[in-house]
C-alpha cells in the first residue's frame, strides 16, 4: 500500500491526462477551461507530492515495487519541480493560445502524459522502467513539438528531435542490453550488488553499455557534442513546449542520471574523468552558441546547454559524502524558476505567432512595462548567478561541491563560463532598459502568464533565501 503512495502524484497526473483526453471528445469544451482544469490537476498533483514529501508518516523508501522504483527526498523534490514546471507551462500555454490558434484539449493531455513520464523517470530504478518512462516522456514531447502542423518550422523541429531522439534511444537500448548482459539483471540494486563484488573495469561489456546509456542521457540534457539539436528544436517548438522541455525534461533526466551514476563508486570514478571534459566543453560550446544568437528562444536554448554543463559539474562532484542530490536539485529548481519565468513573460509579450522573439524586439520594454522588465531582469540575473537570486545559491553550491571534490579547476572553469555568459544575459537587460521603446507591447485577452511571471520572480528570491530543498 505504501508503494502506491509514492506514485500517487503520478497517478493523479496520469489519470488527469487520460480523463482530459476522453473529455476532449466533448464538443463544447472551451479551451480556457481545459487550461484551467489542467492547471488544477497539476496543482493537485503538486499538493499531493508535497504531502508525500513532507508528511512524516511516510518513511523514506529504499525501494518500491520490488526494486522497480526508488524513492528518496531527491526524487520527491525532483517530482515537485517537474509538477511545478507543468503547472507553469500550462499557464504559458493558456496565454499562448489566446494569441496562437492551434490548440485542442489533447495538448494539455499530452503535457500531462509527458509529466507522468518524467515523474516515473525520476523514480526509475530499473532499466526497463527507465526505458519505458523515457519513451513515455519523449513520445509525448515529440508530439507536442510538432503540434502546430501548419508551420514548417515546427515540423522541421519535430523531425530533428524525433530522429535524433530515436537515434539516442537506440543507443540507450543497446547500452541497456549490454549492461544487462554484463550484470545479469536490469535492476539497479542487483547491478550495484554485482559491481560490489566485481570490478567495473574488468567487464568491457558493462563499460560499453554504460557508455551508451550515458551518451543517451547526455543527448537528452544536450551536453557537448550531443547538443546540436537543442537550439533548433527549442526554436522550432511552440513556446509552452519549449519551456516545458527546457525545465521538466532536464530535471527528470538529471534526476535519473544522478541515480544511475551513483550505482557504483568504481563506475563513477571512471566517468568523472570524462564528464569533466564533457562539462567543460558543454559550458563553453553553449556560451559560444548563445553569444551568436539574436533569437531569444535560441539564446535560452544555448544557455540551457551551459546550465547543463554546470549540472554535469555537480554530477562530477556527486557523492563525495552521502549522496543527497541536494545541489543538483537546488540548481534545477533555480534554473527552472528563472527559465519558466522568461517563458511566461515571452508568452504574453511574444504576440501572435511569436512575433517578438529577438533581442531587438524588446527594446525599451522597461519604459513601457516596467514590472515585466524588472521580472525578466531578475530571471536573467538568476541565470547569470548574481546574488541574491536563487541562481547564485545554486552556483554557489555547485562550486562548493566541486571544490570539495578537489575539482578546483572545474570550479574555476565553471566560473569563467559564467563570466562569459554575462555577455548575453546582460544584452537583454541592456535592450530592455537602455534603449528607447519602439512599440507598446500591448497584450490581448485574459491571461494567466503575467501572474506566473510575478510568482516566479518572487520565487526566484524565495528559493534563494529559504533553501527548503536541502
Amino acid at each position: 500500500m505504501l508503494d502506491f503512495i509514492i506514485i500517487l502524484p503520478l497517478l493523479v497526473v496520469g489519470a488527469g491526462a487520460i480523463a482530459l483526453m476522453l473529455l476532449a471528445s466533448m464538443e463544447n469544451l472551451s479551451e480556457g477551461s481545459t487550461a484551467l482544469v489542467s492547471i488544477g490537476i497539476f496543482a493537485f498533483a503538486f499538493a499531493v507530492q508535497l504531502m508525500v514529501s513532507v508528511s512524516g508518516n511516510v518513511a523514506p523508501y529504499e525501494t518500491a515495487f520490488s526494486g522497480m522504483l526508488t524513492a528518496s527526498t531527491f526524487t520527491k523534490v525532483a517530482g515537485l519541480i517537474i509538477l511545478a514546471c507543468g503547472l507553469f507551462s500550462c499557464m504559458i500555454a493558456q496565454t499562448y493560445f489566446t494569441q496562437n490558434k492551434f490548440s485542442s484539449p489533447e495538448f494539455y493531455s499530452l503535457m500531462m502524459f509527458a509529466a507522468s513520464g518524467m515523474l516515473l523517470l525520476t523514480m526509475a530504478a530499473e532499466l526497463i522502467t527507465l526505458f519505458i518512462s523515457l519513451e513515455i516522456m519523449s513520445l509525448a514531447i515529440y508530439v507536442l513539438v510538432g503540434y502546430d502542423r501548419s508551420r514548417i518550422k515546427r515540423s522541421e523541429a519535430v523531425l530533428k528531435y524525433l530522429m535524433l531522439g530515436a537515434f539516442a534511444g537506440a543507443f540507450f537500448t543497446m547500452g541497456a542490453a549490454l549492461i544487462y548482459g554484463g550484470a545479469g539483471s536490469t535492476r539497479f540494486a542487483l547491478i550495484s550488488k554485482y559491481l560490489a563484488t566485481n570490478s567495473f573495469l574488468e567487464s568491457p561489456v558493462l563499460v560499453a553499455g554504460t557508455l551508451l546509456v550515458i551518451v543517451a542521457f547526455l543527448f537528452k540534457v544536450a551536453a557537448f557534442p550531443f547538443h546540436a539539436w537543442v537550439v533548433d528544436v527549442y526554436d522550432g517548438a511552440p513556446l509552452p513546449v519549449t519551456g516545458f522541455m527546457a525545465t521538466g525534461v532536464k530535471t527528470a533526466i538529471f534526476a535519473v542520471f544522478a541515480n544511475f551514476i551513483v550505482l557504483d563508486n568504481g563506475m563513477k570514478g571512471v566517468w568523472v574523468d570524462y564528464l569533466f571534459y564533457v562539462a567543460v566543453f558543454t559550458m563553453f560550446a553553449g556560451n559560444l552558441i548563445a553569444i551568436g544568437q539574436n533569437n531569444l528562444k535560441r539564446m535560452l536554448a544555448a544557455s540551457g546547454i551551459v546550465h547543463s554543463g554546470y549540472l554535469i559539474i555537480a554530477l562530477v562532484a556527486v557523492g563525495t559524502e552521502n549522496f543527497t542530490g541536494g545541489v543538483i536539485i537546488f540548481y534545477l529548481a533555480a534554473y527552472a524558476a528563472a527559465t519558466l519565468g522568461v517563458f511566461t513573460a515571452l508568452a504574453y509579450l511574444g504576440g501572435t505567432d511569436e512575433r517578438r522573439d529577438s533581442f531587438d524586439d524588446f527594446k525599451g520594454l522597461a519604459k513601457v512595462r516596467p514590472y515585466t522588465a524588472a521580472a525578466i531582469t531578475i530571471f536573467m540575473l538568476s541565470m547569470a548567478g548574481i546574488p541574491p537570486t536563487a541562481g547564485f545559491m545554486g552556483k554557489f553550491y555547485i562550486i562548493t561541491d566541486a571544490i570539495r571534490a578537489d575539482q578546483m579547476l572545474l570550479a574555476v572553469l565553471g566560473i569563467v563560463s559564467s563570466i562569459l555568459s554575462m555577455w548575453y544575459y546582460l544584452r537583454l537587460v541592456i535592450m530592455m532598459y537602455f534603449k528607447e521603446p519602439e512599440e507598446s507591447f500591448e497584450v490581448s485577452g485574459v491571461s494567466l502568464a503575467p501572474v506566473g511571471t510575478m510568482i516566479l520572480a518572487v520565487s526566484v528570491f524565495a528559493i534563494g533565501f529559504y533553501p527548503v530543498f536541502l
Binding site: G326, A374, L381, A384, G385, I386, P387, P388, F392, M393, K395, F396, Y397, I399, T400, I403, R404, M408, A411, V412, I415, S418, I419, M422, W423, L426, I430, Y433, F434, P467, L470
Partner: protein, 506 residues
Amino acid sequence: MFENTLSIMIFLPIVAGLALMVLPVGREAARAAGLVVAVLVVILGLKVFINFTGAGGLEFVEKTSWFAYVGVNYSLGVDGISLLVLLAGACLFPMVYLLLKTKSKGFYANLLLTQGAMIGAIAAADMVLFYIFWEVMLLPIFFMIGLFGGPNRLPATLKITLYTIAGSLLMLAAIVYVGVSYHAQAGVWSFDIAELSKLSLTGPAATAAFIFFMVAFAIKIPLFPFHTWLPDAYTEAPTAATFVLSAIMAKIGVYGVIRFVLPIFAEDFTRYALILCYSGVIGMMYCGIAAIGQKDFKRMLAFSSASHMGIIAVGVFCMNLQALTGTLYQIVAHATSTGVLFLLLGIIEERMETRTISDLGGIAYKAPIFAVFFAVAMLASVGLPGTSGFIGEFLIILGAVKFNMMVGVLAGTTLIIGVCYMLWMFQRVFFEKSNTRTEGFKDLSAIETLTILPIVVLIIVMGIYPQPFLARITPAAAEHLAAVSTVQQQLADTTVPVMEQTTQKN
C-alpha cells in the same frame, strides 16, 4: 533600543529603494525620501562610530543561521577595520541628494539600493553574505550608468559590469575554496570571517585562491593594470554614481584585501607583497601622469582617483602597522575629498553644461565659496598637512619606506604627481580669465554651502585632530597584522634551515 543597528542601516535604504521603485511617487518626493533615509543612516552611522569601543574584535554583532547546510550565517559586525569604511559609506550620501538635482525617481531608488548594499558589504561578518552584498551593490550602479549616464554610457556600463563581475565570480571560487578548506581542517562548515581568518592557507590551490581574491579586489580598487574600466565608467556615469564608485565602492575593494586576503593568505601575501606594491605605485604614477593629459574634467578626476587608490593599496601591501593604519585612515580621507571634488564637479556640469577644462576659467572670481571648498578638497587630495589627506599619505609613505626603500620613494612621488595635474586643472578652471560661459556662474546657495561645509570641516578636523579615528582603528590593525608577522617570522625561520641544508650538501 536598536539592537540591530547594522541591519537597519542596511535594509532601511534597500527597502526604501524598492518601495520607491514600486510606488508611484514623483521625482522630488523620491529625492526627499532618499534624503530622509540618508540622514537617518548618517545618524545611525555616527551612533555606531561613537559607541564603538575599539577594544578589538567585532562589535554590534548580529547573527542568525541562514544556510545551515554549508554554515552560512546572516551575521553582521563592525570592527576597527571596517569602522571607518562604514562611516564613509554611511555619512556621505545626504550630499548627493542635496546637491545634484536633475534626475528621475529611479535614480534615487538605485542610489538607495546601492547604499544599502555597500553598507551590507562593509558590515558583513560572513564571507558569503559579503559576497552577496558585494555583487548586489554593483547592480544599481549598472542601471545608474546605463540609464542616466553620458553619451557613451553603454560601452562604459558593460565594461565596468563585465570587469567587476568577472573579478567577483573568481572571488566566489576563492571564497568557496576557503570555506571548504576550513571544513577540511575544522570538520564543520563555516564562512564566518573571524573563524576563517584563523586559517593560514598554503599550497598551489591557495595561491590560486589568493590570486582570485586579488583580481577581484584589484579590479574594484582598481589596481594597475586592471583599471581600464575606470576612466570610461567614471566619466560616463552620472556624477552621483561616480561619487559612489570613487568615494566608497573603490574603498570596499581595499577593505576586502585587508579583511580577507591579509589574514587568510598571509604566506602568499607576504610572498607577492612586493609585486603588489609595485602594481600600486605604478598605477599611481601611471594614472597620475595620465590625468595631466585629460581634456575632460571628470576624466581627469577619474584618473586622479585611480592614482590615489594606487597609493592607498600600497599601504595594505606594506604590511606594517603605520601603513595599514594609514590606508584605513586614507579610505575615509580620500572618500571625503574625492567625494567633494566629484560633487562640486557635478555642480559645474549642471550649471555650465560642459566638462571640458579649456571651456572653463575664472570660476574663483565668480564663486569664491565654491572655489574655497574645491581648493580644500583638492589640497586634501594632494595630501597637504592640516588636511585629512596628509595623515593617511604620510603614514603610508612612512610604512612603505620601512617595507622597501624603492617602493617608499616611488610612493612618495604621489606628492609631486598629485599637485602637477591638480594645480594645472585649478589654474585653468578657477584662475585665469573668465569667459562668456563662466561669466554667469553662480556661487553655491546657502543650502549647498551648508551641505558641503560639514564635510569640508571634517576634512580639516581630520587633518588636525585625527586621534579619535586612529585610536579606534589602530588596535584592530595591529591585531590583523599579528597573524601576518608570525607567518613572516616562520618564512624567515624556514628559509634559513633550507639554506643551511643546501650548504651542508655541498
